[in-house]
């Protein structure tokens, strides 16, 4: 999953968001930078066929839109950090001490080449409702993002996406599978030359 994040004035914009939200802002929360502007407004989707509606006499009765990803700008490397996937306890987005070495490895990879960006993919096991898990997966991705920012990585190089329980790593229905599915995967993003 590629996510292109190029924005001018990002620091000013992030600061503006922090300023407007700071009355209630929990400590240690970093706003997510906006995505690039692009026109994704007008699209089409399949219509619902009118014959399904016919003969229904028997029914007697911001948001400036932000842009799409531009996968052409990035090459995904899912293998480089595959060994550094971090795992979570049930219903938790707290990064355990035992995962610190993995996060340090991820930070080291990013520090080795300042052109690299990172996609953090938050995932959950199947025990939990879908939208609840989508929020929990987001919190897991953001927990890693916060930790990497704490290790000195520029927040603008870090992107997150939550897949909830839609992308399990293992398809079993026991703790052995579930413990592997409660995870953040780290995907290195290489800028394409000429992009």
């Amino acid at each position: 999953m590629l996510k292109k994040l190029i924005y001018s004035g990002a620091i000013a914009m992030a600061a503006a968001i922090v300023a407007t939200g700071c009355a209630h802002k929990p400590v240690g929360v970093t706003p997510i930078p906006p995505r690039p502007e692009a026109n994704v407004g007008d699209q089409t989707a399949p219509t619902y066929p009118q014959q399904q509606l016919a003969n229904q006499s028997v029914t007697s009765q911001p948001l400036a839109e932000n842009g799409p990803f531009d996968p052409s700008k990035w090459t995904q490397d899912r293998d480089a950090l595959a060994a550094n996937t971090i795992h979570f306890a049930f219903d938790s987005a707290v990064i355990r001490d035992s995962e610190t070495a993995n996060l340090q490895a991820v930070a080291a990879a990013l520090n080795s080449d300042k052109n690299l960006n990172l996609m953090i993919e938050g995932n959950c096991d199947e025990r939990g409702t879908e939208e609840y898990n989508r929020s929990l997966g987001e919190r897991r991705a953001e927990a890693a993002r916060e930790a990497l920012v704490g290790m000195g990585i520029d927040v603008n190089r870090l992107h997150t996406v939550s897949y909830g329980k839609d992308k399990p790593a293992e398809h079993g229905h026991d703790e052995a599978a579930w413990s592997k599915n409660r995870r953040d995967d780290f995907v290195l993003l290489h800028p394409k030359t000429g992009a």
Binding site: K3, I32, F69, T129
Partner: protein
């Protein structure tokens, strides 16, 4: 019979006195007046079904009648044990008769046998219970293929006549109807990120409502169709936000670090109920749609509540609660109280008449849609559409 109606719906109806009625009279008296207060909660899950017999139908018409009546609180029994009898024929069109404490005879035409049978079942439900039936209503849901991607579908409430209304080839989720319109908001990963789209199903036109950095999901449209509540994480954590349906007047309502999820509206549009965590425990809470302090709702005995849905009549909140590794469907009075645990399943959505829920059950770990009568606890799986069907939303 009069007492039964009163107990079922907590209010007296005229029907108990009427033996022969014109259909118009039934329709008018369906808005039965008001209100002898009894404790309504005790009826949830415990009301006995109304025994009814069916004669003269077979095939598709029979299966429609059996399904519709069963999931609306009737038990299909032999004539000797029945309180009501329905009979008729299906020679190209449905002719139906109801006899018992209520009587009518009607012919149906102008549509498929299926749709005519739904219309007949609706008339039976209205005559016997005073509630408008659900046979001709629609649902939206996600159908997921192996590997996670899927499409949003719209179908009849029983899963038949399904039609894909997206062609995204991506993870999709959380369809939500615009009340009174053939239009949906839903989540799609089409752009590589969970974003909220609006789609007019008549024209096929769609637009992005929310494509901010981070999570954009769980749209819920206000009863007046003017505002959308949703989950965004653009400020750094998944929180409840609200905006107008065109995206203007965006406002953050909650400021927790508790993975807020699953907003729904009270039918008067004043409140948004959602799932959150308070003092490290999963709770349901409600917050004014105009902002303010959240109020926790009591769900005593139902741990880890999520996925609330407020009934259109304002009386109930359905939600699901953790049970071991999976979930149960629960219903409680909307002010918060001891919930009634009904069946195993996830993601309940109320019918327009506030009596039935569509939800997803799990069969061998695969979600299937199911329809539940909350008073009798009778439930049946809907017709499977494609892959794994989940996150149903009942058209309002």
């Amino acid at each position: 019979m009069k007492n039964m109606i009163k107990n079922l719906f907590g209010r007296p109806c005229l029907f108990g006195f009427i033996t022969t009625v014109a259909f118009v009279a039934i329709t008018e008296s369906a808005q039965c007046q008001s209100a002898i207060p009894i404790n309504p909660t005790i009826q949830i899950g415990l009301t006995p079904p109304i025994p009814i017999s069916i004669e003269g139908f077979e095939g598709e018409a029979l299966s429609v009648l059996e399904f519709d009546l069963y999931v609306q609180g009737f038990s299909i029994v032999p004539a000797s044990q029945a309180q009501y009898h329905i009979s008729g024929s299906e020679g190209g069109n449905i002719v139906g008769r109801l006899s018992g404490a209520q009587n009518f005879s009607r012919s149906y035409n102008g549509a498929s046998i299926r749709r005519e049978a739904h219309a007949f079942a609706d008339d039976v439900v209205l005559a016997v219970t005073g509630k408008k039936g659900i046979g001709q209503t629609k649902i939206a849901f996600k159908a997921e293929e192996a590997g996670g991607s899927g499409e949003i579908y719209v179908s009849d409430f029983d899963g038949h006549n399904a039609q894909a209304v997206t062609a995204d080839g991506a993870i999709v989720a959380a369809p939500a109807w615009v009340p009174g319109r053939l239009a949906l908001f839903y989540t799609s990963y089409k752009l590589g990120n969970p974003d909220i789209f609006y789609s007019d199903l008549s024209t096929g036109q769609r637009r992005v409502l929310a494509a901010f950095g981070g999570l954009n999901t769980s749209a819920a449209v206000s009863p007046d169709g003017q505002r959308v509540a949703m989950v965004l994480s653009r400020s750094g954590d998944p929180n409840i936000w609200v905006c107008n349906t065109d995206g203007s007047s965006l406002r953050q309502l909650t400021h927790t670090r508790a993975d807020d999820s699953c907003p729904c509206w009270s039918p008067n549009g004043r409140w948004i109920c959602y799932a959150t965590k308070i003092h490290s425990r999963r709770r349901l809470a409600k917050i004014s749609a105009d902002g303010g302090e959240p109020e926790a709702l009591s769900t005593t005995g139902a741990p880890d509540p999520t996925e609330p849905d407020w009934s259109p009549d304002g009386k109930w909140i359905a939600f699901c609660s953790q049970s071991g590794d999976y979930f149960n469907i629960c219903v409680m009075p909307a002010e918060g109280s001891e919930p009634v645990v009904l069946v195993s399943g996830e993601h309940p959505s109320w019918s327009p008449n506030s009596r039935t829920l569509v939800y997803n059950d799990l069969i061998h770990y695969h979600p299937v849609l199911s329809v539940l009568d909350v008073f009798t606890k009778q439930h049946k799986n809907a017709h499977n559409v494609a892959g794994e069907d989940s996150e149903p939303a009942w058209e309002k």
